[in-house]
Each structure stands twice: as structure tokens, then as C-alpha cells.
């Protein structure tokens, strides 16, 4: 248990002393997660909105599939994406293997079902009276769409936070698609895996705490948004 305390001390040491490897991993982590969350939200929120808003014959089965995809294991996604980007694979010539955009592709696949599923739920839980009110004020279809989106903003934000948390902390995709290359595709989570594998548990704990601090900062700034709007 000693490495727990050691880890705490080391975490602050790494951050305050500006340890280059740690900061490189932090930057890599932030870049990948930012790319993937932006893609996932841009595509996922409109799809989730439509899934929640409209009634169509395949609604129930689609919903079940989306919910199931929320449980995709990250190593599984990592394997799939690797087999796409490997030279012999269908997208071999993209040059995306062992790169940050490549990992971001995998993480987008991870985040998308979460965003779609939770967005759909938050649209569905909007009061029926809202639709009546908006139309009675003279909105056209486009205005109705955006007004309902805005009214559902709290639920949509929650789905973004959930997806971001998942993406920030995954290892499987980063490892398989990124290759854990120092300075280039080593994220905090893959670094933790590496240190733990080397038996250096205190370093693993330290990096884990660094990750928590990042997550805390992100959520702190999001809570400002939540309160202002």
C-alpha cells in the first residue's frame, strides 16, 4: 500500500517539476480526446435527436442496438480499427496506424453510441407541451429542431460528459492503434499500463492521479457552462 502514498507525492512532483514525458502524455491524451469528442458530438447529437424525436417502425430495434454498442469493449474496437488501418487492411494506405488521428477514429467509434443513446433519451424526456408551445409561437421545422435541442441542453451536456469520461480513460484503443510510442502516441492511460507492467506501481498511481486532475479541470469548466445557461 506504500505505493499509494508514494504515488500521490510523485504525482505532484511530476506536474510541478514539469516532467517532459508526463506533459507529452498529457498533451497527447488531450488532443486525442478533444478530436474524438468533437467528432462524436457533431455526428451523434443530430442522430440521437432524430432517434428520440421521430417515431418510425425500426425505432425500438435501433434503440436496442445503440444501447448494446455502448458496451463495446475498447480492446475490441482497437482490434477492429487496427485491422482497418494495418497496411494489409482496407484503409492501409491512409497512414493512420500509430498516429493520433488514427486513435481518434477508434475513440469516436467508442463515444458515438454513448452520445446517440443519451441524447435520444434526453430528447424523449422533453415535455410534450414544449413542442406545442414552440409551434404555437410560429416556428418552422428548422426553428423547432434547434429550439428543442436548446431546451434539451442539460441532458445533451450530460451525454457529452459521459462520453468524454469514457474516451479519456480508455486504454485498449490507444494501445492497439497507437502503439504507445514515446513522445508521439503515448497517452496517460497507456503510460500507466506501461509503468504497471514494468512493476513501477507508484508511477502508475501518479499518472492516474494526473489523469484525475485533468478530468477534474475539464468538469470544473463545464460546470461553469451549466450554471450560466
Amino acid at each position: 500500500m506504500n505505493f499509494l502514498l508514494e504515488g500521490f507525492i510523485q504525482a505532484f512532483h511530476l506536474l510541478i517539476m514539469g516532467d517532459a514525458e508526463t506533459y507529452s502524455a498529457v498533451l497527447v491524451t488531450l488532443r486525442i480526446s478533444t478530436y474524438s469528442i468533437i467528432c462524436a458530438l457533431t455526428a451523434g447529437i443530430p442522430i440521437g435527436f432524430c432517434l428520440g424525436f421521430f417515431n418510425f417502425r425500426w425505432k425500438q430495434p435501433v434503440r436496442i442496438i445503440v444501447d448494446t454498442l455502448m458496451s463495446l469493449p475498447t480492446v475490441f474496437i482497437g482490434l477492429l480499427v487496427y485491422s482497418m488501418f494495418t497496411y494489409r487492411g482496407p484503409m492501409g494506405h491512409s497512414g493512420l496506424l500509430f498516429t493520433i488521428p488514427g486513435i481518434a477514429v477508434g475513440q469516436t467509434i467508442l463515444a458515438l453510441p454513448i452520445v446517440i443513446g443519451l441524447s435520444a433519451t434526453s430528447i424523449e424526456s422533453l415535455d410534450q407541451k414544449l413542442r406545442i408551445m414552440i409551434i404555437s409561437m410560429g416556428a418552422n421545422r428548422r426553428q423547432l429542431f434547434f429550439s428543442m435541442l436548446w431546451e434539451a441542453r442539460h441532458g445533451l451536456l450530460a451525454s457529452a460528459i459521459a462520453a468524454y469520461g469514457r474516451v479519456l480513460t480508455e486504454v485498449g484503443i490507444s494501445m492497439m492503434v497507437g502503439g504507445n510510442i514515446k513522445w508521439h502516441t503515448r497517452t496517460i492511460t497507456t503510460a500507466i499500463a506501461l509503468e504497471t507492467n514494468k512493476g513501477q506501481f507508484d508511477m502508475g498511481i501518479a499518472l492516474g492521479l494526473v489523469l484525475l486532475i485533468i478530468a477534474f479541470c475539464v468538469n470544473l469548466s463545464v460546470s461553469f457552462l451549466r450554471r450560466r445557461y
Binding site: I135, S136, G138
Partner: protein
């Protein structure tokens, strides 16, 4: 040629295999005030939603100012607005709620003073209410804000669904006053659904009775529910709470509803037509019908409320609330539905 604001033909609306509305023809003139009464489930709210172009009827055509319209039609969406029964606001400040419709129309000149004026009309102070969030109001205040957000749009048609049903007395008064004044100042057409028949008869040009999806005009009819019992040989009726028997012809079904038109009788007329029935009751209310100048009377007979028009008289001193009176209805004019 001036078109009626609404010209509706062959309107049928079904929901879950149930026919909710069945109206062959309905026409509403510009700047008129139309009342809508009927028991719960009669289709009032549905009709208002269809008039408000929020729902598309299963069958039928709606012409608005001569143009055929449906939900989102550009010819109508900025001109019609509906105030639903339950107070409801969007998740934003009062100011943003009231100005929402204006922003939709791109009508953004001088919004603050218009919002202030609107809130003033419904009795709310701009300084106190404008920046409040949507959850910081009572039900009555909410409904007033909802009304303000519609009045600010100066709509051509204002549809009100039980506007005073879920609010406090003070809000009720304000809402009633404000709705009427829009008609005075802007010539707005009003269609109001309400249980407050008295109020409707006071202000409306026409009151439509909606019953099981069909419209019955005039309002002199009273709908009476069963259960019906056979009271001896070829006589059917229902016992009222005060022991009187309301006689009817043979009902076509056990759950049939009787539609009777009652008239008051005075002592000077002795009418012994066999095909009539008399009831004794007490006058509970009197009101003046707007256009015709006729006096409307509500008589309490047991647990029944019968509404009828009085013939023109010079002197109404012999009718007053609390007076015991006899009324008569003709069995051969009795309808069943």
C-alpha cells in the same frame, strides 16, 4: 371578397381508431369571438390544436383567410397562436420566453420595451419578473407570462384552451380582461374553450357545443346522461336527486344521452299537452347574451343544470336568482345521441 378567417370542411380526426372529431362544416369570421364548451374528452383541445395548426387532421381541409393550410404553413404560422391549458414555459428567463416569438419572426426592433409593455398588460412588473428563471413563478404567473408571450406577437387569431382553469383568481381576472382587450384594440379573432359557460355567453358572438366530436350550436340544449329506468308502461325516465322524475322517450341504448330543449313556463299558460313534461327548479344564474340582447337563465333542477333563453320582455323583475320556477320540455322534440 373577404374570406372567413377559418373555413373548415369535412373535418375528421381519429386517434387510436377512435373518432375524436367529426365536423362537417365550421366557419369562423374575422374578429369574432367564438366560445367552445363541452365535457372533458369532447374534443375541444384537439379542435383547438388543429385550428392552431399544431396537429394535422386525419381528414378534411382547413382554409385560413382563403388559403389551404396545414402545420408549418407560411400563410398562417405567424398569424395564429394557441395558449394551452397547462401553464408551461421554456427553460429560459421570462424575458427570453416573452421575446421568443419575436425572434422567430426576425422582428427584433426594440424588444425590451415591447416585452415590458406585454408584461404590463398581464399585470407583471418588468423590473421584478423579466430576469427571473422559468421555475421561479406560480402557476398563475406562468400562465400570464405565456399569454404575454403570445400577445406580444399581435396575432390575428388567438386560441385559448381553458385559459383560467389552472390559475388563481387574480390571474383569472387579468387573463380574461387582457384577452378581450386584444379584440378591441387589434381586432383579434378569439376562440375560447372554457367550462365557464356564464363568461362565454357574456362575451361570445357564438357558442359552439362540442360533444363526442360533433358540434351543436346555439346552446339552448342540455345534455343529460343516463342511467335510464323504465318507469311503468312505455314510460322511461331518470330519478333526480330531489325526487323528481325526468321523463324521456325510449332510449336507443342503455348509455344513450338525451338532448332536451327546455323553456320556462309562466303561471298564465296552462299547457296540458300530453307530450310535454314539467320540472320544478330554482333559478341559479342570469346573464345577458351579447349580440342578441337576450337574457340567459340557468335553472337548477335537482342535480341538473338546464340553460335556456328567455323571451323578450320589457320587465325582467319576475326572474331573479333564487326564484322557484317551472320549466317544460317537449318529449317529441327530444333527441338521442
Amino acid at each position: 371578397m373577404s374570406y372567413p378567417v377559418y373555413d373548415i370542411r369535412s373535418l375528421k380526426h381519429t386517434y387510436n381508431n377512435r373518432t375524436v372529431l367529426d365536423i362537417a362544416h365550421l366557419s369562423i369570421q374575422k374578429s369574432s369571438i367564438i366560445g367552445l364548451v363541452g365535457p372533458n374528452g369532447s374534443g375541444k383541445s384537439t379542435l383547438l390544436r388543429i385550428l392552431g395548426l399544431i396537429e394535422n387532421p386525419t381528414e378534411g381541409t382547413i382554409r385560413f383567410n382563403g388559403y389551404q393550410v396545414e402545420p408549418f404553413s407560411s400563410k398562417a404560422r405567424f398569424l395564429v397562436t394557441l395558449l394551452p391549458q397547462e401553464p408551461f414555459l421554456m427553460k429560459r428567463s421570462i424575458y427570453n420566453n416573452v421575446s421568443y416569438g419575436l425572434k422567430l419572426r426576425g422582428n427584433v426592433n426594440d424588444i425590451p420595451s415591447r416585452v415590458k409593455e406585454s408584461l404590463f398588460t398581464v399585470g407583471l412588473s418588468y423590473e421584478k419578473y423579466a430576469q427571473r428563471p422559468w421555475y421561479a413563478l406560480s402557476g398563475g404567473e406562468m400562465q400570464r407570462v405565456a399569454l404575454a408571450s403570445r400577445l406580444i406577437l399581435k396575432p390575428q387569431v388567438l386560441l385559448l384552451d381553458e385559459p383560467t382553469a389552472n390559475v388563481d383568481a387574480h390571474s383569472e381576472l387579468l387573463i380574461k380582461e387582457t384577452s378581450l382587450s386584444t379584440r378591441k384594440t387589434s381586432g383579434t379573432t378569439l376562440v375560447i374553450a372554457s367550462h365557464d359557460m356564464q363568461w362565454l355567453y357574456e362575451i361570445c358572438d357564438k357558442v359552439l357545443h362540442l360533444f363526442q366530436g360533433k358540434i351543436y350550436e346555439s346552446g339552448q340544449e342540455t345534455f343529460i346522461y343516463g342511467p335510464w329506468q323504465q318507469m311503468g308502461d312505455r314510460k322511461w325516465g331518470k330519478e333526480l336527486s330531489d325526487g323528481q322524475i325526468l321523463y324521456v322517450t325510449e332510449p336507443p341504448r342503455k348509455d344513450a344521452i338525451a338532448v332536451i330543449k327546455a323553456l320556462p313556463i309562466t303561471e298564465s299558460i296552462v299547457d296540458v299537452r300530453k307530450k310535454a313534461a314539467d320540472l320544478h327548479g330554482t333559478i341559479s344564474r342570469l346573464s345577458l347574451e351579447k349580440n342578441s340582447g337576450r337574457v340567459f337563465m340557468t335553472v337548477l333542477v335537482g342535480d341538473l343544470r338546464l340553460t335556456m333563453k328567455l323571451p323578450f320582455q320589457n320587465n325582467y323583475s319576475d326572474v331573479f336568482p333564487g326564484k322557484k320556477i317551472s320549466i317544460r320540455y317537449r318529449l317529441d322534440l327530444l333527441n338521442w345521441i
